[in-house]
Amino acid sequence: MWIPLPLLGVPPWLVFTSFSINLVYQFWIHTERIGRLWRPVEFVLNTPSHHRVHHGMDALYLDKNYGGILIIWDRLFGTFQPELFRPHYGLTKPVDTFNIWTLESHEYVAIAHDVRLATGWRNKFGYVFGPPGWEPAPESGLGTPAAADATTEAGAVG
């Protein structure tokens, strides 16, 4: 995952320390208790407001705000979305369980189910490697993301 960094000569232990610092930073952005901060802060850093959007299941909020410490990556690469209303958390297709084994495995089971039923290698491939909510297109053969149908990690640990 971090292969480019040791290749650039960054000591391996420093890579893990940096990742830990990154995760420690992300602790405080997982809250609904902090509203919006000073504008320059919201522009550069990942904030509770930005990160609530990341965990939202609303169509507007899916696949947005992936940043760790800095939000500028999302601004640069087109995945930024400001918080316009209070997000709804959870999955677009709720799992309806608190069993951690089911929570961990159900998406893989669902993918395997889709792959088994899919006809043709192209469609089987699409379910495994396509974006969330991918479905075979009836005629053109090109898959398009069905955003409202997608599952995200909203509400999960990550």
């Binding site: 971090w2 960054v10 890579v15 893990f16 405080w28 208790r33 999960a156």
Partner: protein
């Protein structure tokens, strides 16, 4: 704090993880937020009823016990599996650093830390997006 220091001193210096030091603060802030959610619940109930959101949602910032318990359990499992992957990763990265990298940056130089922190952040963005999004 002495006990924490003793635990950390068992590990070689490069493996002393800052997350360990942060854990007491995680617990402290969770407690503050949980208390705030309970104290302020009635305030939220008032404002939510006027808002355009449907009723039946938990109050802003509140915890659902079963949900919190499931999340924490999954987090503990994740710590164990991540630990295994990190160990394998460390071996591979050490080999790349020692044998393939054209130079070795010194951890006592400030710019090494900048490269590490910014590099990890942009890679985190990329992998986070590949793992959960449309890539």
């Amino acid at each position: 704090m002495d006990q924490l220091g003793a635990v950390l001193s068992v590990l070689p210096a490069p493996m002393r993880d800052p997350v360990l030091v942060a854990v007491p603060f995680f617990v402290l802030f969770l407690a503050i937020e949980w208390t705030a959610a309970r104290k302020l619940e009635h305030l939220d109930a008032e404002s939510e009823s006027e808002s355009r959101f449907e009723s039946g949602r938990p109050a802003r910032g509140s915890y659902l016990d079963r949900d919190a318990r499931a999340s924490i359990s999954m987090g503990l499992v994740s710590v164990a599996t991540m630990g295994a992957w990190k160990f394998l990763g460390l071996l591979g990265y050490a080999a790349l650093y020692a044998y393939v990298a054209p130079w070795q940056l010194s951890a006592s130089q400030w710019y090494t830390w900048v490269i590490a922190l910014v590099g990890v952040d942009v890679l985190f963005y990329a992998y986070h997006r590949i793992a959960t999004g449309s890539g």
